[in-house]
């Protein structure tokens, strides 16, 4: 299903705090997450244990889900993080952090790990 992605700041899901005080596990738990309206949740046939596979022309990533009724239908919210930046891009020398078209599907595959993301940027041992 096609949706619009907005990456926002959230006080509970803060990348700077997880890097400063948490560890790899808390990073994945708090940041690899996408938040949807309950009616979109139903349309995608999602349940609490399923994950979503997000893909567009810039990249692909798998994250967990959460529901929130304050979000308009057709919008997906993600906290600013290395997961959400797999989907953002540069246009006319400016970075677009909001209003990015993305394709969303339910999946059973595991969430993309932090190590995988770092390795895809540079091969480190």
């Amino acid at each position: 299903m096609e949706m619009i992605l907005n990456t926002v700041r959230m006080v509970d899901h803060d990348q700077a705090r997880e890097h400063a005080l948490g560890d790899e596990k808390s990073l994945e738990q708090n940041l690899a997450i996408g938040i949807l309206n309950p009616s979109d949740f139903k349309k995608l046939n999602l349940t609490r244990s399923l994950h979503i596979n997000l893909s567009n022309k810039n990249g692909q990533v798998i994250v967990a889900t959460k529901e929130d009724e304050n979000i308009p239908q057709g919008t997906l919210l993600m906290p600013v993080s290395i997961w959400s930046n797999q989907l953002t891009n540069v246009e006319n020398d400016e970075i677009t952090y909001k209003n990015i078209p993305v394709n969303v599907e339910a999946t059973r595959d595991p969430i993309t790990t932090y190590k995988d993301l770092l390795n895809s940027i540079k091969n480190i041992k």
């Binding site: 700041r9 006080v11 890097h19 290395i82 930046n85 209003n99 940027i121 041992k125």
Partner: protein, 432 residues
């Protein structure tokens, strides 16, 4: 008890009470969650305490001598270095950084180029006035939050701006009108009173709303009866009425409308709308504040303006400032650099994936005080003391007011401050 400023975000609240025994911090009173996190970094496991060098592909601890020598080697073997970051360091360090860039023919830029810096230039062009938080507390009667989620980025902003009782507005909340415009029903909607206005606009339609308001300013009764962008015409008329009748209003904007929509920039059109309203009405003024992120983003704009005449995209060659049409994003995209020095920020996590890959393909020297994705990938890691607790200095708030930071503890392992470290690098370069 002494009150010190907090360096959690760009609001720089200066009323924090800290109880300490000289070695550790026992209690922090008055700081919100983001400020508390900053004080917690002192004793966190992820704090960097030793310099590190990448040998045979693995990062390992090293001595200061070896780390600095490797840094000098990387810089000497490059002819087009890139310097980026500088929004988490004090103004003295920013001055030293510009000196370093001048010496090594580098291109230097700060985080504000993808956040606040653009807006400053646009505000200069339209001639609109910026205002300070103290003025808003004492005199404002209208506050508009557009595309800004105050409760999630700067928690104490609503507390200071809306609820405090100022010198000329003693009753505080009852006197101020709040208008929020946002596509998501954010937490700030919960502080609305009976006379406030909450508009949940459709996503991606801010430009339509601004253009309709501009037209209504010039030609009356041009609002269509079915409304615009999901807002009905009664609310639109009320919005324009509030804006025109405000004696002392302020518009606070955030990242939500910093992105370009269709072919124009939304902030530029919003500033033009405000200026139109200001010129039309006789007695009042509406001014403008831009919400920032890190605590010294505005500082780099000031330091760069006063030393070089430009607030961003500074390129040096043979000790002189030269013309440059690039910004940091285009430089990395074109791979027009051969090494990078990253100070106090984490671009590998913050930039889009393909830009991070290009940045990581050349040597990186990372200067920071805690572990991050950039320090895990860098070739040299140099730790420094935490600004605001272990180092003092001057920093600039989000409304461009300078604040002086206090020192309350000594850094562990005799870690240098950012200014000292950049000075050491400059000294070594001058000797060899």
């Amino acid at each position: 008890m002494e009150r010190i400023p907090c360096t959690g975000c760009s609001l720089l609240c200066d009323d924090i009470i800290v109880r300490s025994d000289g070695l550790f911090i026992d209690e922090v009173i008055g700081a919100c969650l983001k400020g508390k996190e900053r004080f917690d970094q002192l004793t966190s496991n992820n704090r960097l305490l030793n310099p590190m060098i990448r040998e045979n592909g693995v990062l390992e601890k090293s001595s200061w001598e070896d780390a600095l020598n490797k840094t000098i080697n990387i810089i000497k073997n490059s002819s087009n270095p890139l310097l980026y970051g500088f929004s988490n360091v004090n103004c003295e360090a920013q001055l030293k950084a510009i000196e370093l860039a001048r010496k090594i023919d580098g291109f230097i830029d700060s985080n504000s180029t993808i956040c606040q810096g653009k807006v400053l230039n646009m505000a200069k062009d339209t001639g609109i006035t910026l205002t300070t938080i103290t003025e808003v507390i004492n005199k404002a009667d209208l506050i508009v939050l557009w595309g800004a989620n105050a409760a999630e980025s700067i928690p104490r902003l609503l507390n200071k701006v809306l609820f405090s009782r100022g010198k000329f507005r003693m009753t505080g909340r009852e006197i101020k009108t709040l208008i929020i415009i946002d596509p998501v029903k954010i937490a700030s909607f919960n502080v609305m009173g009976v006379r406030d206005l909450a508009l949940q606009i459709q996503p991606n339609k801010d430009l339509e709303l601004i253009r309709m308001l501009k037209e209504e300013c010039c030609v009356a009764d041009s609002i269509p009866s079915e409304g615009v962008a999901g807002i009905d015409n009664y609310d639109l008329k009320r919005l324009l009425l509030h804006l025109s009748e405000a004696e002392n209003g302020v518009v606070i904007v955030g990242q939500g409308i910093l992105q370009p929509q269709s072919e124009s920039t939304i902030i530029r059109e919003l500033l033009e709308l405000i200026q139109m309203i200001n010129l039309k009405q006789q007695k009042g003024r509406i001014s403008f504040i831009m919400m920032g992120g890190h605590f010294n983003m505005a500082g780099f704009d000031h330091i760069a303006l006063s030393t070089c005449g430009k607030n961003e995209n500074l390129k040096f060659k043979n000790n002189e400032l030269v013309e440059s049409n690039d910004n940091i994003v285009s430089k990395i995209n074109k791979e027009d650099f051969d090494c990078s020095i990253i100070v106090g920020t984490d671009p590998i996590s913050h930039l889009p994936h393909n830009l991070s890959q290009k940045l990581a393909s050349k040597p990186i020297i990372a200067i920071d005080n805690r572990k991050s994705a950039t320090t895990l990938i860098a070739d040299v890691v140099l730790p420094t003391a935490i600004t605001g607790i272990e180092t003092g200095g001057i920093v600039y708030r989000l409304d461009h007011v300078p604040i002086e930071l206090k020192t309350i503890l000594k850094p562990p392992n005799n870690l240098p401050s950012d200014e000292d470290l950049l000075n050491q690098i400059l000294d070594k370069l001058n000797k060899t």
